[in-house]
Amino acid sequence: MNRPVDIEVEVERYELIEPARYRFEVERREFMRIFGVMGAGVLVLASVPGSAQESGRTGQQSASSDVSAWVHIDERGRITGYTGKTEIGQNIRTSLAQAIADELRVPLNRVSLVMADTDLVPFDQGTFGSQSTPRMAPQLARAAAAAREMLLDRAAAQWNVDRATLGVKDGQIVGQGHSAGFGEITKGQKLVGAVPASVSPSPVAQWTSRGTAEKKVAGLDFVTGRHRFTPDITRPGMLYGAIIRPAGYTGTLTSMDDGAARALKGVTIVRDGTFAGVVAPTERLARRAVTSIKAEWSVPSDLASSQTVYEQLKKAGSTGGGRGGAPTMAGDIPAARAAAARTLDASYRIPYIAHVPLEPRSAVAEWNDGKLTVWTGTQRPFGVRTELAEAFRIPESQVRVIVPDTGSAYGGKHTGEFAVEAARLAKAVSKPVKLVWTRAEEFAFGYFRPAGVIEVKAAVNGSGRITAWEFDNWNSGPSAIQTPYDVANRRIQFHQSESPLRQGSYRGLAATANHYVREMHMDAIARALGVDAVEFRLTHLTDERMRNVLTAAAQRVGWPKTSSPDRALGIACGTEKGSYIATAAELSRADKGFKVERLVVAFECGAIVNPDGLKNQVEGSVVQGLGGALFEAIEFAGGKLANGTMAQYRVPRFKDVPVIDVVLLDRRDLPSAGAGETPIVCVAPAIGSAARSFGTVATELPVKLL
């Protein structure tokens, strides 16, 4: 169960099989381009073959799962890291730079990052699956460490001194009466290096920037509003686009009366197959033009609704495909059930929910001599580059995707249809075009976290031990589907299905649904047996890290005592993406059920890189989890969303937020795991199990008292 350690072991083993030098020659052309942009100096590549990552999407043309990073130090000693990862609010522009700063023994403000510009950075699969901290940070650290060693080598040679007597301090190579800045040592040279096997990132004990609460890089640009997100990008001569859409989330354009729009000065109508949009000199005019167009759409009949979807998902998963793969089996389920003192079974429904990133999906597209440049907020810049190249039948080398630091994504920005749309409009008018989706488009034409049905069956023996665990998940996803509890007889299966709504990745993806059902069922069994929910879990847990977070959360919340007699406590624990979480919820009674008064979260993700940034991520993840736990669910029928606006689809606001008490367990002996996703997974089961003290809780999300 010790996942981050496993990942590290895998990395080292693969490295021996496939040395980095082979990759280096392939990348040489790229290096030369960096020297062209950044000037002479030292440039180091670090790359390791990657492993399959969950993204919810596949089919990338230039598919490579390598995790690559470059570090460049120019003649003036300026240090730049290059990574294909995107900053979407998770603070990696800061935390990744911290890794470089440490290895080069400089303060954080000496380091900058070039991120997610497909013409400037090495290929990357995308920013998802909590991989930036465990996978990308070590590559940047290795590259920086190798650059440091190269500088020491050069200095020793230039000064003709014993290399062992030289050191690195405050951006200088010093020793033997000599001292010189990084830039001076490489003046006029273009040094390229790979990471030798002898170089590895500094141990945690030597961290200086990492492990401290460094302030977010460029924070000033956010509080002043100066940062340019994609919707804020402007280009010379830029025009504004808008897309003609059906009233619901689906439909095929059959006819269109655009007479009124054509009469508007400066408006261009663009129609290509089923695509239809407008371009106008101002955003206001583009909007006006779109509203003036009367379009007819054919919408299929017999579409699923939020009522019928569960039956449909289960049916399609069981009979029509069932591509989820074979079940995980252990032991003998029928024998365990036959010998059981009691059995407890339940079936849960998980609705579709929306990401609602505050920055809508948007893009600015520009064509120059057949080369397409697109600024867009996406978690997969190289994936979007592929989408664009395919859409316009041009080589990927003719497409550049640049991702400005983005106004959040939460797994919702893995695709680039808005980039394709903007590029199509720009091509039609031969001018740069900006397209910003409306909030209604966001809801209807983005994608959702998958809905699903989850069935769980447990058998318990006479001494109160779970002897059999069966877990079937239809469509919501396989993340964290395995149980961390020690149960001898298991059958666990994910059944992929045909989703009536467009679905994809989401923060934590199915780990939230699977944790919800698993932990609610653990709580139900404990209640049925009349045993304490924490004790019951501990008797089934050998994983020390899980035991530690569970115990820490229980202690902090004062388990099993509530802070006042009319309140109720609930608790849940879990692991996902290599980190461990336990959440305790304290509820009070309210008019229509309950109110969440307090959440206690114990979280452990190995060695902490930036304690304040981490706390921010944990709190934010918990707040986002509150939405799915308490009120978020997409309602739909007849091809239309019933709550596809910000006013109708409720997301957590100030008044919804309880006291959140975060306990961070710093395991400096363990590698750092990602932290943006995992804290979301136990919010709903903590609340749901607490609510059981007030009455019967529905077997669905959001949590509801019957």
Binding site: G89, L358, S408, E619
Partner: protein, 162 residues
């Protein structure tokens, strides 16, 4: 089409438009005042909050005809050469993640502190409830608002004593 006089951050602009055109669209896409963000276009998220005659207003649903002639302040008009105390407090409390809601949150806070210099946490939650931070940094924003309130009081107190 009519001509509307918009007074924004001390400058006067003559804007041609329809009465129902949104103020935010003009600010962002014609005057390049991009600090006010487009979040929902429904007046439901607060990312576009500006001050109109000192009142917080959602500029995405503010019509040109309704704001013409009034005094409009956007985030670009706060603070002058240095940060406004509210901006400084948001920076110090690191009350953001992606930062997309931040200008709207800052403007809403400026408006809140103008009418209530000593807001309780409940006051903050009630007034600021119109602004969404999807990253969920609400606890930090509450801290930033309180920090800004305290600093403003101290500064003003010092000025009065002088």
């Amino acid at each position: 089409m009519s001509t509307y006089t918009l007074r924004i951050n001390g400058q006067t602009h003559q804007i041609e438009g329809e009465p129902n055109d949104s103020l935010l669209s003009v600010l962002r896409y014609e005057l390049d005042l991009i600090g006010s963000k487009f979040g929902c276009g429904e007046g439901a998220c607060g990312a576009c909050t500006v001050l109109v005659d000192n009142q917080a207003m959602r500029s995405c649903v503010a019509r040109l005809s309704a704001v013409a002639g009034k005094t409009i302040v956007t985030i670009e008009g706060l603070g002058g050469n240095q940060l406004h105390p509210v901006q400084q407090a948001f920076l110090d409390a690191e009350a953001f993640q992606c930062g997309y809601c931040t200008p709207g949150m800052v403007m809403a806070t400026v408006s809140l502190l103008r009418t209530n210099p000593t807001p309780s946490e409940a006051d903050i939650a009630r007034i600021m409830d119109r602004n969404v931070c999807r990253c969920g940094t609400y606890p930090r924003i509450v801290r930033a608002v309180k920090m800004a309130a305290e600093r403003t009081r101290n500064t003003e107190g010092a000025e009065v004593r002088r």
